[in-house]
């Protein structure tokens, strides 16, 4: 644990040093927690933290010609230090983001408590804004990095037959950037919190009195850096580290999904960072990006922001597509239907994702001639997405379906994400979007896509790979109950939101017309039940990780490479080097093999 304590010390020390230095340079007169002091302090603190946790031992010493130093043994403490094993990083991500999801979930419960009544009974409108903003950014973070960080890191090297990621140290760095982000976001209330939502639209994000917005900006920029480095690592790993015989056409579909999502995160994340830098500069340096008086404007923000944030929804759902298709093909005992078309669909989604952003802005006042092309392009995305659905259904068709907890999650993903997808067309269509914009219809739509699409993939994948990661089996009965609970509960909570949305309930505000109160009471009650269901999930996993029955190496009798090694896998993944000889999903074809393991001749090309 020593590196962790050192990192905390250096982080706090760095913050104080940076803040005081900025304070002195600014004339040593204002408060010590002024905007510039906080900004410089955060940057210095972040550097201190990274150097303390392992940056110095892994890179800093090398820069000065000293040999790198590894701290600590490979016992349980490896999860609490800078560890370059991709499996450790994957577990760190998984545990951290399930915890973040818990905090975001508590925020959601607080919001539903307030919304159970039409007026402001439980919290003020301002407090509601802050709780809503915190819920938004935490859950967006879970959706963006939850699957890619955990299963992406844990499984991609295993699935392609590699010993580790291409850049193991960078991989550890991308995880250890996350704790300072969490600290920044969760300590923002000390400086007056942030209340402009996760979208941080100016002018509110520039003018709001709370300096918590500064911590939001810096934290999310650091999170973006982590996501860029993670994506870069996955792209490079998949390109250069595949085992002999693992051609692009033989990659498991989850690897393709992670690869596609990484393409988006590497390129587009910079735009969110850039917009937040602009807000930060407007707040601390007096620039005029979003100051209409001086000639700036908020339309600039919306364009740049959505240029990242629309592609970002595909960073959230593409990995879940991959997880769900993996689960569906293994538990249908059939080859994945239309593998090549699915890969093509993933890449088409990546391509289209960058040219649809302005469908978020039909009511923003941008030029009218933008409307029709962005409507058409957005609706075109339903074609590749439809291909993914057809592949899922075609794989199950006449398969020998084995309804385990992950399979229930994956079929629930098909159903729920489809509702999210179909209601998306109402927003892509200009005429209906003008009516529905900023109502609960939108809230219901994106919760169906993000919970139904991304989070259900995360939950399903957690069950599916739990025996591989922990070496123990979860409780199947409780798992099935939870999977059904989420699949059905999602509909009970969010279907009525379409109705209240159409009837004029605005999103993002604590009050609504009194005649919608009965439905909202129902939604709140259902939301509490859905939230409580997650205790079942946490309890099941915690108990099973310690006391669950030992799992065999391949409890699902699945064919991909991660199941060919022990549970949990050994340090360098493959005691025998794999050579890939066939497609990954040859279920039901006599004599077909995905890979053979041998000691001789195998090198990476």
């Amino acid at each position: 644990m020593r590196p962790l304590f050192r990192a905390i010390k250096w982080g706090i020390g760095g913050y104080l040093l940076g803040a005081v230095a900025a304070w002195v340079m600014a004339g040593a007169s204002g408060p010590l927690n002024g905007p510039i002091e906080v900004t410089v302090g955060f940057i210095a603190g972040l550097i201190g933290w990274i150097f303390g946790i392992g940056g110095w031992n892994n890179w800093g010493r090398e820069w000065f010609g000293l040999p790198p130093k590894d701290d600590g043994k490979d016992d349980w403490r490896r999860y609490f230090r800078f560890n370059t094993d991709h499996k450790v990083v994957g577990v760190q991500y998984l545990v951290a983001f399930i915890a973040v999801m818990g905090i975001g979930g508590i925020m959601a419960m607080l919001m539903r408590l307030e919304l159970a009544r039409a007026g402001t009974d439980f919290m003020s409108e301002e407090t509601y804004n802050k709780v809503m903003s915190m819920h938004g950014i935490l859950m967006v973070a879970v959706a963006v990095a939850g699957i890619l960080g955990s299963f992406g890191n844990y499984l991609i090297p295993l699935m392609i037959g590699a010993q580790d990621m291409a850049f193991p140290r960078l991989n550890a760095l991308s995880f250890w950037l996350i704790p300072p982000v969490a600290v920044a976001l969760l300590s923002a209330p000390l400086l007056g919190s942030f209340e402009a939502g996760w979208t941080a639209y100016p002018p509110l994000s520039v003018l709001a009195p709370g300096d918590g917005q500064l911590l939001f900006n810096m934290g999310v920029i650091a999170f973006g850096l982590s996501s860029i480095l993670g994506g870069l690592n996955i792209l490079t790993t998949v390109t250069t580290m595949r085992a002999p015989g693992m051609t692009w056409g033989r990659l498991p579909i989850f690897v393709w999904a992670g690869f596609s999502a990484s393409l988006i995160s590497v390129l587009f994340t910079q735009y969110f960072a850039a917009t937040l830098v602009m807000i930060q500069l407007d707040r601390i340096a007096g620039t005029a990006f979003f100051d209409a008086k001086a000639g700036g404007g908020t339309l600039l923000y919306e364009h740049l922001f959505w240029f990242y944030s629309h592609p970002a929804v595909y960073i959230m759902v593409l990995p879940a597509f991959g997880v769900s298709l993996e689960i569906i093909t293994h538990f249908s005992r059939k080859p994945l239907f239309a593998y090549k078309a699915v890969v093509g669909a993933f890449l088409t989604i990546v391509g289209l994702s960058g040219i649809v952003w302005a469908h978020h802005m039909f009511t923003s006042g941008m030029a009218n001639y933008f409307h029709a092309p962005f409507m058409a392009l957005t609706e075109a995305i339903s074609i590749p997405t439809g291909v993914v659905f057809l592949a899922a259904i075609g794989t199950m068709w006449k398969g020998r379906i084995w309804f385990t907890a992950p399979m229930i999650m994956a079929t629930g993903w098909v159903f729920n994400f489809m509702i999210g997808g179909i209601t998306g067309i109402f927003h892509a269509d200009v005429a209906t979007d003008l009516q529905l914009h900023d109502t609960y219809f939108v809230v219901a739509h994106f919760h169906f896509t993000i919970i139904g699409g991304s989070i259900m993939g995360l939950l399903g994948g957690t069950f599916y790979w739990f025996p591989k990661i922990t070496g123990r089996m979860y409780n199947e009965r409780l798992g099935k109950i939870f999977a059904l609970w989420v699949t059905i509960g999602l509909n009970v909570v969010f279907l009525p939101m379409f109705w209240v949305g159409v009837n004029g309930m605005n999103r993002r505000v604590a009050v609504y017309p009194a005649d919608l109160q009965r439905v909202n009471e129902f939604i709140s009650a259902a939301a509490f039940l859905l939230g409580a269901g997650f205790l079942l999930f946490i309890g099941n996993l915690l108990w099973s990780a310690v006391k669950g029955p030992k799992a065999s190496d391949n409890p699902w009798n699945a064919s991909t490479l991660e199941w060919s090694v022990s549970s949990p896998p050994p340090h360098h993944n493959f005691p025998l080097l794999p050579e890939v000889v066939g497609h990954p999903y040859e279920y039901g074809r006599p004599g077909a093999r995905h890979a053979v393991l041998s000691t001789t001749g195998a090198t990476h090309g």
Partner: protein, 191 residues
């Protein structure tokens, strides 16, 4: 016996793929950085079009552009020298490149002193000017630090013809930062 063969195979695999990975990783990183620069460059055109103030220091900016372009040549020479085993020439070329980089940063600081009076950040051109040049100067600074690290390691004898990747990587990054300036310079001074 099997374990020994395996270890050997592992390290052989490492040797084979690591240079490819490093190169690809750097190119992906530069592609990503291009998006960051493009965001701020498009912000310049969206907010202020091609308007620019009269009192821009054109002579200084032109001079700094030349300094940066020439530094790319010396950086290239540093890379070529170490790849062919001319260690002393490599060290000299790297030093020259660092000096050019520092001249550029010094020039920017000098220019900013004037600019803060003529078109402060609160004006719409000043917004684009300070954010874009600030972002770029930060990248120049990281490039100088990278060059300083390879200079130090090179002086300690770490690099040679078969082991020149860190130099190559830093120099490629330096070229990239130069290339960004070639786009920023006309966007702010010439249009």
């Amino acid at each position: 016996m099997a374990a020994v063969t395996l270890e050997a195979a592992h390290s052989r695999a490492e040797l084979l793929h690591q240079p490819r990975s490093n190169k690809l990783g750097l190119w992906i990183f530069m592609a990503s950085e291009t998006f960051l620069f493009s965001a701020l460059i498009s912000a310049r055109f969206i907010t202020s079009g091609v308007q620019k103030p009269e009192d821009l220091n054109q002579a200084l900016a032109f001079g700094l552009t030349c300094v940066l372009l020439v530094s790319s040549i010396s950086a290239y020479l540093a890379e070529a020298f170490i790849a062919t085993g001319h260690r002393r020439a490599f060290l000299a070329a790297t030093r020259v490149t660092i000096v050019f980089g520092l001249i550029f940063i010094g020039g920017v600081m000098f220019e900013w002193r004037e600019a803060l009076h003529n078109f402060p950040p609160g004006t719409i051109y000043g917004t684009a000017f300070f954010s874009l040049i600030g972002l770029h100067a930060f990248h120049v600074l990281t490039g100088v630090l990278g060059l300083a690290v390879v200079l130090n390691l090179g002086a300690l004898g770490h690099f040679g013809p078969s082991n020149s990747w860190p130099v190559e990587g830093v120099v490629k990054y330096w070229h990239f930062v130069d290339l960004m300036w070639v786009i920023i310079y006309p966007a702010l001074y010439l249009f």
